[in-house]
């Protein structure tokens, strides 16, 4: 597929197709949605099965569930403080959804739903709306003081306020673009080197020997992509917590 006609086609992997045959086509259910559903099922499965035994000495699955829980709990309380515990389910859900989207997308034939800006921007927009609503509910009108730092001379307001507002509005964009760009770049790189393997492999006698090089690069890249998959989910969660911190403490 990638090496058809001896060209490098790195972007067709991001195209959407209908899943589940005619039923999926009728309701516009794509393979992206199918992978979201799969990620949700895997996450719920890990948490439900992991927690079911309630053992004092946890088994493998329970250890994994507890590790995820404690990691996120430390992250949220570390960033937002102890008032932040009530936002833990929100950040936990975000983190798990992004992490499993990234990791499941690395499996062969799988689709990475976090490689679409529509998905990541929707997630970032949810974070934006939630943090703004939290700030408005907790602080009321004082929230608008966020856009004008105390002690600044009043005549600077026409400059400072638009800059602060634009800076605030740029949050969901930077949040979504970072995740999306990382995922797209990683998968394009993987595809390009995989195509090199096929193209070089067909070059007569020496071909297969040279093709080992891009194959080795791809092995390393998969490892790197696993790191990026985790890191981007972590960055998404930690930025959501930082924004929640700003919303709760407002300064």
């Amino acid at each position: 597929m990638a090496a058809e006609g001896k060209t490098i086609d790195a972007l067709s992997q991001f195209e959407l197709h209908h899943a589940f045959g005619p039923i999926g086509a009728a309701v516009n259910f794509t393979q992206s949605n199918a992978h979201m559903l799969a990620a949700a099922v895997v996450i719920i499965g890990i948490m439900a099965w992991g927690i079911a035994p309630r053992a004092v000495v946890p088994g493998r699955l329970q250890s994994m569930a507890e590790m995820f829980y404690e990691f996120l709990e430390n992250l949220v309380t570390g960033q937002v403080g102890h008032e932040g515990k009530r936002y833990f389910p929100f950040v936990f859900t975000l983190f798990m959804f992004v992490l499993f989207g990234n990791v499941i997308g690395l499996l062969p034939y799988a689709f990475t739903y976090t490689s679409h800006i529509a998905v990541t921007f929707t997630l970032a927009a949810i974070v934006f709306v939630v943090t703004t609503v939290v700030a408005l509910v907790l602080h009321g009108k004082k929230f608008f003081g966020y856009f004008f730092p105390e002690g600044a001379p009043l005549w600077l307001a026409p400059i400072i306020v638009p800059v602060e507002v634009v800076s605030y509005l740029s949050r969901p964009i930077s949040l979504s673009v970072r995740l999306f760009a990382n995922m797209v770049a990683g998968h394009v790189l993987l595809k390009v080197f995989a195509t090199f393997v096929v193209l070089l492999g067909g070059l007569g006698a020496v071909g297969p020997l040279v093709a080992v090089l891009p194959l080795g690069v791809n092995v390393l890249l998969i490892g790197f992509e696993l790191l990026v998959a985790f890191l981007q989910a972590y960055v998404f969660a930690i930025l959501a917590s930082i924004y929640l911190h700003d919303a709760v403490h407002l300064h």
Partner: protein, 98 residues
């Protein structure tokens, strides 16, 4: 003796961790993962997204008020300033806790 003290210490730590007692100092400065490339990329994303937000807001206001290039141009500059502000915040978070 020492076992008793050790238990007290661990109990205090656990209570502080759960927010039942005030910790002596509020350290917990959780930054972003480091590395020069990562910081550079992050700063670049911040600038570009602020530019997009500024230009988009200006374009929307223009579309609403029918004054095409002017607000777009003004907010493009404002977006650039917001980008610089974002990068500044990246290294110097807002004062106060944390």
């Amino acid at each position: 003796m020492s076992e008793q003290n050790d238990f007290e210490r661990r109990l205090r730590q656990a209570r502080q961790k759960q927010g039942l007692e005030k910790a002596p100092n509020t350290a917990a400065s959780g930054g972003l993962p480091g590395g020069p490339w990562r910081i550079g990329l992050r700063a670049g994303v911040e600038v570009v997204s602020a530019l997009i937000a500024g230009a988009g807001l200006g374009w929307l206001l223009d579309w609403w008020l029918g004054s095409f290039p002017w607000l777009f141009l003004v907010f493009f500059v404002v977006g650039g300033a917001a980008g610089v502000l974002n990068v500044y915040r990246l290294f110097n978070p807002r004062s106060g806790a944390r």
